[in-house]
């Protein structure tokens, strides 16, 4: 029994394939989806999604956030944006992070929603830098 995994972003359908296991970065920690699990709706933080087949890594990609719908035979990932690890850039992400930090200083104390969304974006930018550095050092094992 395998798990059909789709990764879709607003711009395109990134991937759609049968796998044995998917590891996704949830807001409260990484979660592995395997066939036959109970249905779960999960919010994502910025991080790496890894697809496994026959104990091998099939594919890795970076998402900045989104939602996952896991059922017994299906794992649907709706990502805010999705990129291949090679396409990540430390410089771009650092620049984004600086801009976000700048915005953060201007947010009022009652703007809870804005705080939350900025917080998520900052986390995603930090995660992107971290991942990009590891890719640069060819240190994919620790992802």
């Amino acid at each position: 029994m395998s798990l059909r995994t789709e990764i879709v972003s607003p711009e395109r359908r990134y991937t759609d394939r049968e796998v044995d296991m998917v590891v996704v970065p949830g807001t409260e920690g990484d979660i592995a989806a395997m066939p036959g699990r109970a249905p779960l709706l999960l919010q994502l933080r910025g991080g790496v999604i890894t697809l496994y087949k026959d104990d091998q890594v099939l594919e890795r990609c970076f998402v900045t956030g989104g939602f996952v719908d896991m059922t017994a035979d299906h794992c649907t990932i709706l990502a805010d944006s999705v990129r291949a690890l090679e396409d990540l850039s430390i410089d771009d992400a650092s620049q984004t992070l600086d801009e976000l930090k700048n915005q953060w200083t201007r947010v009022g104390p009652d703007e809870v929603e804005l705080q939350e969304s900025l917080g998520r974006q900052i986390q995603a930018a930090r995660a992107e830098i971290e991942v990009a550095e590891k890719v640069k050092q060819h240190d994919l094992k620790s992802l």
Partner: protein
């Protein structure tokens, strides 16, 4: 029988009309390509989200609706329906606006016959004009449909999503349906109603049930937090995709309509030219007869 001068004037008139329609056709064709790419790119995300939401709706069916957020399960009543109709700001697009307006009017009549209260939110000047004339009491507001670029479409979708969320959460409407033209190809756009609130249950509920085995969804982070993020997001995504679909449909319809118009103009020119030549020939023949019979009389 019109005079030669009149005919010349008419031919010139139709020719300049043809120039305009064929220019509009070219413009629509080039806009269509971009609009179509955008609409097709946005489709998988919106469709996947829609499927996910309908599974969620199916899974939450057994639960007490009053404990669920209104954007998911409705307000518990089924009284006031909001119809959002996507039309275009500009005309000359064949049956594009007429089709969707006809479908919407049908829907309105059906809802009224069931004793519901209908509220209308037309998007696009064409729809606003018609609905304000026929159902002045139902129109709550109308929006322009500029949707030229992705940013415009996104801003419009954000506006719509926010309005709907506010209305539903404020208890002012109980259900919301979006009417829009789905882009099939440049020749065909089909009017389609899309239920947004309450979330439509998966079309073949058996399949939905099998996939979740009737199990209750787990949520992470907690249900309230996650749904508060996911439901408005779903509205936004659905509106965004619909606005892009509709924009692509508009350009497709305009291209087809203008192509037909140009072809008709060509035919009219041909017909008028033939008549012009015949009249001219008849005039010459007449003059000849006059000259010859004059000469014979001498």
């Amino acid at each position: 029988m019109p005079s030669l001068k009149e005919l010349r004037g008419r031919i010139a008139g139709v020719k300049s009309t043809r120039k305009i329609t064929s220019a509009m056709k070219m413009v629509a064709a080039s806009k269509l390509r971009r609009a179509q790419n955008q609409a097709e790119a946005a489709r998988p995300y919106a469709d996947t989200m829609r499927r996910m939401m309908s599974e969620l709706a199916a899974a939450s069916q057994g639960m007490d609706p009053s404990t669920l957020p209104p954007l998911l399960a409705g307000t518990g009543r089924d009284n006031v329906h909001l119809l959002i109709v996507l039309t275009s700001d500009r005309g000359l697009a064949g049956g594009f606006n007429a089709n969707i307006i006809r479908a919407a009017r049908q829907q309105i009549e059906d809802l009224l016959a069931q004793g519901r209260t209908v509220r209308l939110l037309p998007v696009g000047r064409k729809g606003a004009e018609i609905f304000r004339r026929y159902y002045p009491d139902m129109v709550v507001d109308s929006l322009h449909n500029k949707a030229g670029t992705q940013q415009d479409a996104y801003a419009l979708a954000q506006d719509l999503a926010k309005r709907v969320a506010d209305l539903v959460e404020g208890g002012e409407i109980d259900a919301c349906t979006l009417m829009r033209n789905r882009f099939v190809n440049a020749m065909t756009q089909t009017p389609q109603a899309l239920g947004l609130v309450p979330l439509p249950v998966a079309e073949n509920d058996n399949a939905g049930e099998k996939r979740t085995d009737g199990a209750v969804y787990e949520f992470e982070p907690d249900e309230g937090h996650l749904l508060a993020q996911l439901l408005p997001r779903n509205l936004l995504v659905q509106f965004y995709a619909a606005v892009l679909e509709s924009a692509a449909g508009e350009q497709g319809a305009r291209m087809t309509a203008m192509d037909n118009a140009s072809r008709n103009a060509s035919k009219a020119i041909e017909r008028l030219s033939l008549r012009y030549n015949r009249t001219r020939q008849a005039n010459i023949t007449n003059e000849l007869i006059e000259i010859i019979s004059g000469a014979e009389a001498v």
